[in-house]
Symmetry: C2
Subunit: 375 residues, 2 copies
């Protein structure tokens, strides 16, 4: 029995991927309406911040893993000390939970990152800026951020005040003048087996992953190898179990810098459901159960994933029909969530030989579903 | 909400295929241990032969469909009369439930079948035999058979006695001297849209589908077209909604004859989970919901499916590990069933460009899982 903490779409898609493996699946969710709770057979409702809830949930699980990174690290340490198989383990996961810990760890193993340091107050941000090329500076709360939340790009000391209001430590980073964003994903098992997916290109809009192209077009094979090796090295050095997504900046002068780490299936890997021999969800489950890993290679020359965001119309059903009728090759993945403007409610994958065609089809479907185009 | 009657592996795989479509799924199962009941969020336990149970189950469903063909036809007629969307409908489904009805219907629309007629007793079987080329003759009870059950190949009048013991009408058919068995699958929606999968070759062992190769190797394109057209015509004439598998004999003189019909996802279509753009399970769900159908074309040059049968060892786990480690490209589909000798407990799909390689890998994995080989 695999226990998954969190009832979002990642747990939903893990469940889907686990069915062919014959895996029994149990979910800890907040409400029965959540994305994964709609489809998983065994759902326990409870608060993942409560140690006793976690302890009771884990009691009949062979292993627990995660839909998100918000479970308190100290609770995971307690569970692990009590004999629960927590994968990834708390010592690895803290690097995805706390950006300060992550930067310090990556520095210690010599992984290239944007220039960064913890800052004490707005005046310290200005000092940080002047240590480099000045403002703008990126500020991040070390915990709690996702999808652009907890991240600010500030142009002066006045703007630098906002991040400190929460009373959480703040990390300052140089604003990298990148050519594009890439993501290198690997999956690693407790016994140390690891596989690397092709490096993908990721387009972000307003801090949210909007579109992924696999593999990244026009990527120098040497840089691709470097990114894969880097991700494998991070997974090994941090002793990560399961899927690791390393979000990268490709700089204009051809270097790669680590932006963020995610230790669970990740939006940048959704293309693999229809574009790879083994999806990130299946390989994550194989890894946390220490099963041999599946082939991560692409099945198509190009696969493009575009996120479906909610638009102004709460009912997507007619748009859904239209998109299916227009493009029988479209792979639609809906999360069962209520439609709200800007909310991720699904994604589409399209694969094929012609990148322009594949990208146009995926973008069209996502825009039509959102309602920003009507033909 | 789609209600599925029956908790077997077909319902399990339908559920899996429905998750990305955002479909809510409800199951009517016998026990919580059944294959689909393990993974479906909403399972109702009850007897599918009881009208009130069916009525209560269907009350909050947009449509009901089936894991098997054993629901009494008259109950389905009652539900339909009461306004329940039953797909496929009882007038279509009866052709998959009652072989006498099916043969009469196919005769009436001019579909080529083996020589056949209902027989009254063993003496009548001998008369039937002598109307053609003599014994052996195939005898089938008109209802209740599957996976070789309810089918006898008899060599003389003494052997012909057994099928009559159950008191069910018996159908006699010539024993076709076939070159091989094929299957042509189509999916049809209530609005009349239909898609045809590539015609596959099916190998049977002891009346159970053992292996499927998609597409059927060395199949004359004209015969392939004929088989697809035949399946589309049957689906239309019988007004079938959902997946229809037409099991065919390819005779040594190059004709095709209809052996059986199945109106649900079918073992001969399991290859499509990993080998087609849209699986039979997804297209069946799209059809019963009258959603536009997905592309049925193959994604690989060859896909081979081999069923995993239970062997002498109840614990397949070590074999499972071995197979995954040996072949990272193997797609294993386990049904969550207890292992019993000869029981279908899963299947494996392998795809690729080299048919011999693909077939060897699939056969090896299935044999290793069963325990008939140990290396």
């Amino acid at each position: 029995m695999v226990g998954v903490v969190g009832g979002g779409q990642l747990a939903r898609m893990m469940h889907q991927a686990g069915i062919p493996l014959g895996i029994r699946f149990k979910l800890l969710a907040d409400t029965p309406q959540e994305s994964a709770a709609q489809v998983v057979g065994t759902t326990v409702l409870g608060d993942y911040r409560d140690l006793d809830t976690l302890r009771a949930f884990a009691a009949d699980c062979d292993v627990i893993t995660f839909d998100h990174e918000h479970v308190p690290t100290e609770h995971l340490r307690t569970l692990q000390a009590e004999g629960v198989a927590v994968r990834p383990g708390p010592d690895a996961l803290v690097n995805a939970q706390d950006k300060g810990v992550m930067r310090a760890k990556l520095d210690s193993i010599g992984v290239p990152c944007p220039r960064h340091r913890l800052v004490a107050d707005p005046a310290d941000v200005t000092a940080f800026a002047h240590e480099g090329e000045g403002y703008p500076v990126v500020l991040k709360t070390v915990r709690g951020g996702y999808d652009g939340k907890g991240v600010w790009v500030v142009r002066d000391e006045t703007e630098a005040a906002a991040p400190f209001l929460a009373g959480v430590p703040v990390l300052a980073e140089e604003k990298v003048d990148f050519r594009r964003e890439l993501a290198a994903s690997v999956v690693r098992s407790p016994s140390g087996q690891a596989v690397a997916y092709p490096v993908v290109e990721s387009l972000q809009e307003n801090g949210i992953c909007a579109e992924v192209t696999a593999p990244a077009p026009d990527l120098d094979p040497a840089l691709s190898d470097e990114a894969q090796q880097l991700a494998l090295r991070i997974a090994g050095e941090l002793d990560i179990t399961g899927h690791l997504a390393v979000e990268l900046f490709q700089t204009r002068d051809g270097r790669i810098l680590v932006n963020e780490l995610a230790m669970r299936p990740h939006n940048s890997g959704h293309w693999s459901q229809d574009g790879a021999v083994t999806s990130q969800f299946e390989n994550h489950l194989r890894a946390v159960l220490d099963l041999p890993l599946g082939d991560p290679r692409p099945r198509a020359k190009w696969t493009v994933m575009v996120n479906v965001l909610g638009g102004d119309y709460p009912d997507m059903y007619r748009a859904f029909l239209h998109c299916m009728a227009r493009d029988p090759g479209l792979k639609i993945h809906m999360y069962g969530k209520d439609v709200k403007p800007g909310r991720k409610v699904g994604h589409v994958n399209v694969f094929g030989d012609d990148l322009e065609d594949v990208r146009e089809r995926a973008r069209h479907a996502a825009a039509y579903l959102r309602g920003t185009i009507t033909e």
